[in-house]
């Protein structure tokens, strides 16, 4: 790692500061929740470094609390983290000069929030480069890890009702669901997924049902959109051109 000048560091620090502030309460909560499903301090440290994802860690807690199988947990986290594929793909445009080794290290510490910071910086600040972006990733990870570990340690001294804790996660998933409803098609996909999840859970008696529901509903939403596009294209070829602009 090359050393940064003072002004460069200040630049990095200023852009990562909002992440520090938002990661502290979220990381504390994550650490406390991980302890409630019997993670020790080392395990909380490892998952915070290796997975480094608020949504992913909350999902793990929620699934472990309802005795889901390991394969279900791995698949759900995989599908949740698939969104990073898009983030990585859009950032790769700015990282074309970098070595494979750098890309491998950089992508390990990339997540939604530091991606947002870096993407904006790459767009608006011509002096922004890959080194600074990597420091943003690492400093945000440091904040996340510290908050998580503190949470797991302090959870020993706080008594929490586990069913209440679990409902906090449900409420969080509801919030995230609402934030993703941007049009009717997505709302329909959500409804289909919810209905399928209940049906699959009852019939196959396994949490793998929610993996299946996610896959089928997202693919159905996507197919429906394609079909709609095609139909409109046939009916009125000019409309589609306008929409894409």
């Amino acid at each position: 790692m090359s050393l940064m000048s003072k002004t460069d560091f200040r630049k990095v620090w200023n852009s990562v500061l909002p992440l520090f502030v938002s990661y502290l309460p979220l990381g504390l909560a994550s650490g406390i929740l991980l302890q409630s499903v019997h993670f020790n301090v080392l395990q909380t440290f490892l998952i915070s470094v290796l997975v480094f994802s608020g949504g992913g860690q909350f999902l793990v807690v929620s699934l472990l609390a309802t005795q889901s199988s390991v394969s279900t947990i791995l698949m759900m986290v995989f599908f949740l983290e698939l969104r990073y594929a898009l983030l990585g793909a859009t950032l790769s445009h700015y990282l074309k000069q970098e070595s494979n080794r750098f890309l491998a290290i950089f992508s390990q510490s990339m997540n939604d929030e530091n991606y947002a910071v870096n993407h904006l910086k790459f767009l608006t600040d011509s002096s922004w480069d890959a080194q600074k972006a990597l420091w943003v990733n690492w400093l945000s990870m440091l904040a996340w890890v510290l908050a998580n570990v503190t949470g797991t340690i302090s959870a020993h001294f706080v008594k929490i009702d586990s069913s209440l804790v679990h409902f906090a996660l449900t409420a969080m998933f509801v919030y995230m669901l609402v934030m993703h409803v941007k049009n009717k098609k997505r709302l329909v996909a959500a409804l289909v997924s919810a209905i399928l999840a209940v049906c699959f859970m009852i019939t196959i008696k396994n949490t793998f049902g929610i993996v299946l529901a996610t896959l089928v509903a997202s693919y159905a939403g996507h197919s429906f959109e394609q079909w709609q596009h095609k139909r409109r294209e046939v009916a009125n070829p000019t409309v589609i051109v306008e929409e894409q602009v």
């Binding site: 992913g56 949740l80 898009l86 209440l164 919030y175 995230m176 919810a194 209940v198 859970m201």
Partner: protein, 106 residues
């Protein structure tokens, strides 16, 4: 889950979280993102959260169960999340609502 099992799970989670991050950044530094993938990805998070919420509300163990406390609370949280657009307010509302509805409906 055993202590060793958790370490194994964390390693598996590392792969599940790292592969979607690292492969596209390599692959797409030379190519365009295919549009079908982009389009499909738009529907994955919302379907995932919907499936999780449905499971939490309607499933107890692996069986269907209609619990007024859960149904009402989730309805309230939906409304508050939509109005406030704040995660903290939504979660706190959810906790208060589930506490009260559990007292009323058992």
């Amino acid at each position: 889950m055993s202590e060793l099992g958790i370490y194994g799970l964390i390693f598996g989670l590392f792969l599940a979280a790292y592969l979607p991050r690292v492969l596209p950044i390599f692959y797409f530094s030379k190519r365009q993102i295919p549009s079908w993938f982009h389009e499909w990805m738009k529907y994955v998070p919302i379907s995932l959260f919907a499936a999780l919420v449905a499971k939490d509300v309607f499933i107890k163990g692996t069986a269907f169960e209609w619990r007024w406390s859960h149904v009402l609370t989730v309805g309230i949280v939906f409304f508050i999340a939509y109005k406030s657009r704040s995660m903290v307010i939504s979660v706190i509302t959810g906790l208060i609502a589930i506490y009260l509805t559990t007292i009323f409906f058992g």
